[in-house]
Amino acid sequence: MKVLTLAIPSKGRLMQQASAVLETAGLSIARAGAERGYRGQLKGIDGIEVAFLSAAEIAQNLREGKLDFGITGADLLWEKSAAEENLVSVLAPLNFGFANVVVAVPECWLDVASMADLDEVSESFYARHGRRLRVATKYLNLTRRFFAEKGVTGYRIVESLGATEGAPAAGTAEVIVDITTTGSTLAANHLKVLDDGVILRSTAVLAASPAGLNDPRAALLQNSLKKPE
């Protein structure tokens, strides 16, 4: 039997929660061998090796088919792969890692409530200032897809790899697309989420690449990790 790989986040809360979910499902991880710490064996289902990677790497490697299964955030998964590409499949949403990817604008933009408002503002901003509105985000693809779907085109993405919520105050962008759990960081930075600005309601998910999906062990994993009804 070919050994398949299940990747789980290598550090932080996501790692703890992923391990806990597996543990609860009766699938504990035995870490062993020379690569101690970064490899392990899944107990409970035969022939599944566990790899510890960053959540972003897991999403990327699933997309490229280098992994069979992975636990990562839906935000990262759909950032790396558009759903219609059919490169990855979600086997089960998991009961942790709840967060929303949202479009937020400065609170002092009292005239802006919706994406349609943002579209209009982007036009007048260009006419008045001679440059495009800048959107700071690490979610380049989610942002492009969502803005296109909403018909907003007059903007530029500024890639941001941390402290995105500070971009408007720092003057490096006017708008942000970021992940938020409670909204308190946004509020602290005087940013507000647009009425129709929720791009994605994200949770941690168990996902599979096509190779993983077509293996009978996919169903075993799925059944073990599915949230109880």
Binding site: V105, P106, E107, C108, W109, L110, D111, V112, A113, S114, A116, D119, E120, V121, E123, S124, F125, Y126, R128, H129, G130, R131, R132, L140, R144, F147, A148, G151, T153, G154, Y155, R156, I157, P168, A169, G171, E174, V175, H190, K192, D195
Partner: protein, 379 residues
């Protein structure tokens, strides 16, 4: 295929030499615009959809550069940097590579574009007809015999809106949404009902404008919540838009018959020689009549040049997806086993040079041929 063989390269070069010869004989200077361009012009002008497909990189000084995603903007830049007076007539042609990340249709990431741009032509209608004629002559010189031509005219659409009574900001919003059929329909519908029944998170604030001056409401809101002014827009901009939103509530709704006329116009797909009859049914005003006459004049110019323009198809929505065009647009397509393939297109884009920093307005009309697609359909 990683590249072209000697035979493929030679065949393409032969075809393209025939194309550029047509352009040069017509008096267009064969120029070589830069391949590497400052990214800003493309990105600011095109928005994120093109940016996503443009090869952008940073030079050692931190400036954003790109590989040109098409040759029209580089030709405009060439003109602005070389011409003493940008609004003096200039005629350029070119043949060169353009670069785009493949999209979902798996288009090639580098392709050879041949084209021409005609700045500040003295007679607008004649220049538009001439550019179409040259595009067709170039394709025929390359060996193409069967094709179809689609025409559009953003001037007709703008004129129709000008003639329809509504607040200027509504008109601007409709123009802005011409490119996005769904949004256009929604906006038009919101104008005919003009009942913003849907409350939003700022409706309560707008309610207050009924009693108090907008500047006071804005100042109070900012002070009471202690909001920092970030995001690059002044409070005056914010207040002005709030006032517009408030004013929208009390505007008379757009007449349903007028809205239907706009929708009816956008549904027009007609042979060019039937168009006059169809447009007669549009209840139109002065601007639209002018635009109609101009369309007929251009059609007559095409006939004059020996084009069988009557058989071209007019499509009112044609021009969507091509944001910088401002008037006449055309596309030439060839039927293949996989459907129609566009091999050439062009039109008028009178605002682009001003947007790129020209101190004076410069009228512009041009066309481009996708030479590799042409080669493929001729094979």
């Amino acid at each position: 295929m990683a590249g072209k063989s000697k035979a493929e390269r030679e065949a393409l070069e032969r075809q393209n030499a025939a194309i550029t010869a047509v352009f040069e004989r017509a008096g267009f200077d064969y120029i070589a615009p830069d391949i590497i361009q400052p990214a800003d012009i493309f990105l600011e002008r095109s928005g994120e959809d093109i940016r996503a497909r443009t090869f952008v990189f940073t030079d050692p000084a931190g400036a954003e550069m790109c590989l040109r995603p098409d040759l029209t903007v580089p030709a405009c830049r060439y003109h602005l940097s070389h011409a003493e007076k940008p609004d003096e007539e200039a005629k350029y042609c070119y043949l060169g590579s353009a670069f785009r990340f493949p999209n979902e249709h798996l288009s090639p990431q580098e392709f050879l574009q041949a084209g021409l741009e005609w700045f500040a032509a003295p007679d607008a209608a004649a220049a538009e007809a001439r550019v179409l004629k040259l595009a067709i002559s170039a394709l025929e010189a390359a060996g193409l015999t069967k094709f179809r031509v689609t025409l559009g005219d953003l001037g007709l659409f703008s004129a129709l809106l000008e003639d329809t009574p509504m607040p200027t900001r509504w008109r601007n919003r409709l123009k802005h949404h011409f490119w996005r059929p769904h949004a256009f329909r929604d906006v038009l519908e919101s104008f005919t009902t003009n009942r913003s029944a849907k409350r939003t998170s700022i409706s309560a604030l707008i309610d207050r404008l009924a009693k108090d001056p907008v500047a006071d409401v804005v100042a109070q809101e900012i002070e009471s919540k202690n909001l920092p002014l970030v995001g690059g827009r002044s409070l005056e901009e914010v207040a002005a838009r709030l006032a517009d939103k408030s004013a929208d509530r009390s505007e008379a709704a757009l007449d349903q018959a007028k809205a239907d006329a706009i929708t009816g116009y956008l549904n027009i797909v007609e042979r060019a020689d039937n168009l006059e009859g169809v447009l007669n049914r549009t209840d139109c005003g002065r601007n639209f009549n002018e635009a109609r006459k101009y369309f007929q004049k251009r059609l007559a110019e095409m006939e004059e040049l020996g084009l069988n323009a009557k058989r071209f198809e007019f499509k009112a929505t044609f021009g969507r997806e091509l944001e910088y065009y401002t008037g006449f647009v055309f596309q030439i397509e060839v039927e293949t086993a996989d459907g129609f393939v566009a091999v050439a297109g062009g039109g008028r884009y009178d605002n682009l040079l001003t947007d790129m920093g020209s101190p004076v307005p410069v009228s512009a009309v041009g066309c481009a041929i996708h030479t590799e697609r042409l080669k493929a359909v001729l094979a």
